[in-house]
Amino acid sequence: MTSIPTQHDHQPSPGDPSAPGWKRYVAASHFRSAADEFDACKLGFWLFLATEVLLFAGLFCAYAIFRMMYPEAFAAGSHSLDVKWGGLNTVVLLISSYTVASSIRCAMLDKRFWLHVNLIITLVCAAAFVVIKFTFEYGPKWAEGKRPGVLFDYPLWSHPQEPIWWSVYYCATGIHALHVIIGACLLAWCLYRSVRHKAYGPTHYTMLENSGLYWHLVDLIWIFLFPLLYLIH
């Protein structure tokens, strides 16, 4: 055990305007303590993460079924993707995951400057991911006619089921990209609250922790999407 205080040691001082936000925080009265509330919030958030996993389960299931039925179409479609951009995006997300974990560590150690640095790197990574996705992946492919469903306009397909591949590709990566954007917004809000109100510190960092969990989940989904979409033969 370190000597650094944790949420169990939270002693709210709501009336002290000079105290940082995390010290002024008062747990909701129907909880017995701040630690109890933190535990409840985390359990609630893990349940929410479970629903997110099952949301993507539908996309993974559609992917698996169509790959089972039309393996050639999926191999052909996958060859149109550039492993370089996919791999770079994987690296970007992994680094951002690391910085988010570090930022929570910094909050627990009361190192606000490094907390902010880590969060800013994360947001830069998120922006890089989205830019790479849209500029170098969606853009050129859309222009070539490699589009989902009825918008498909690419005459040089090698398998008549390729439109389905593109539908699965755009739906899966599109919904994932949406989650990247939502996660980035959550983390940006955390950054704002931390800069403005010094909201996160050793005894109170629930929002930051949960936003971090969300970001890791986004990373987790991509860890599976990347080989499934980019590395088929």
Partner: protein, 233 residues
């Protein structure tokens, strides 16, 4: 779950401890401060595994295309998914700190993965086994879709400013190729396809995906030979 251990009452308040009203044994979970070194090592491991999965895919390609080995198509999935699973476990254990967290959260997460597994396996059980009794039940009647009632906007507008809608006849992939052949000639498409696939000759032409519907008698005999091979395996 030490967390939810019930206090057994005896019809009175004898079992009640005011300092520990639920009879919970609090474990100090969720407040573990990760060491910076651990986080960095995990990141490096994740990056290494990303390199490994890309490398493995390159080796597979090399073995198939240059050395002419035949690798079963599930090998690709098994290798890629095994590496992804290791990466996911690293993220969940350390970045998301489940190792140091309330075990209830791990249970929640495992439950949702279990639900996902059920979803995927039972759906595949049906869609992968349609041909058990009558082989002709498995493949699609017309590869690439029936094309019934498909329309799309061409992106152009008529003189009244209304968007022009084109009717798509038959599978979308075949339609797109037919349009290109009409516009630029069959030789153009053949040449482009040959550039795309230097190794093998692809069948070109509208006949490949001509609608095979509405004709009485033995419909499936008319379907292109390649279709039967795609379904249900």
């Amino acid at each position: 779950m030490s967390h939810t251990k019930p206090t057994h009452h005896n019809g009175d308040a004898n079992g009640y401890d005011p300092d520990n009203p639920h009879g919970f044994t609090y474990v100090d979970h969720g407040h573990h401060i990760m060491s910076g070194r651990t986080l960095l090592l995990v990141l490096l491991a994740l990056l290494a595994f990303t390199g490994l999965t890309v490398g493995a895919a390159q080796v597979e390609t090399y073995m198939i295309e240059v050395m002419g080995w035949s690798i079963p198509h599930w090998a690709n999935v098994i290798i890629a998914m095994s590496i992804a699973t290791v990466k996911a476990i690293l993220v969940v254990t350390f970045f998301m700190a489940l190792k140091y967290d309330n075990p209830l959260n791990t249970i929640v997460f495992l439950f949702c993965l279990f639900a996902f597994a059920i979803f995927l396996s039972f759906t595949a059980l049906d869609l992968g086994n349609r041909h058990r009794v009558e082989a002709y039940r498995a493949p699609q009647i017309s590869a690439g879709g029936t094309g019934v009632n498909l329309t799309r906007k061409t992106g152009e507008v008529n003189e009244k400013g209304e968007p022009i809608v084109e009717n798509i006849v038959g599978p979308i992939a075949g339609y797109v190729r037919n349009v290109t052949i009409e516009e630029k000639g069959a030789d153009y498409v053949k040449k482009k396809l040959a550039e795309k696939h230097p190794h093998h000759e692809e069948p070109v032409g509208p006949s490949r995906s001509r609608p095979q519907r509405g004709l009485s008698g033995a419909l499936d005999e008319h379907a292109p030979a390649s279709d039967a091979a795609h379904g249900g395996h």
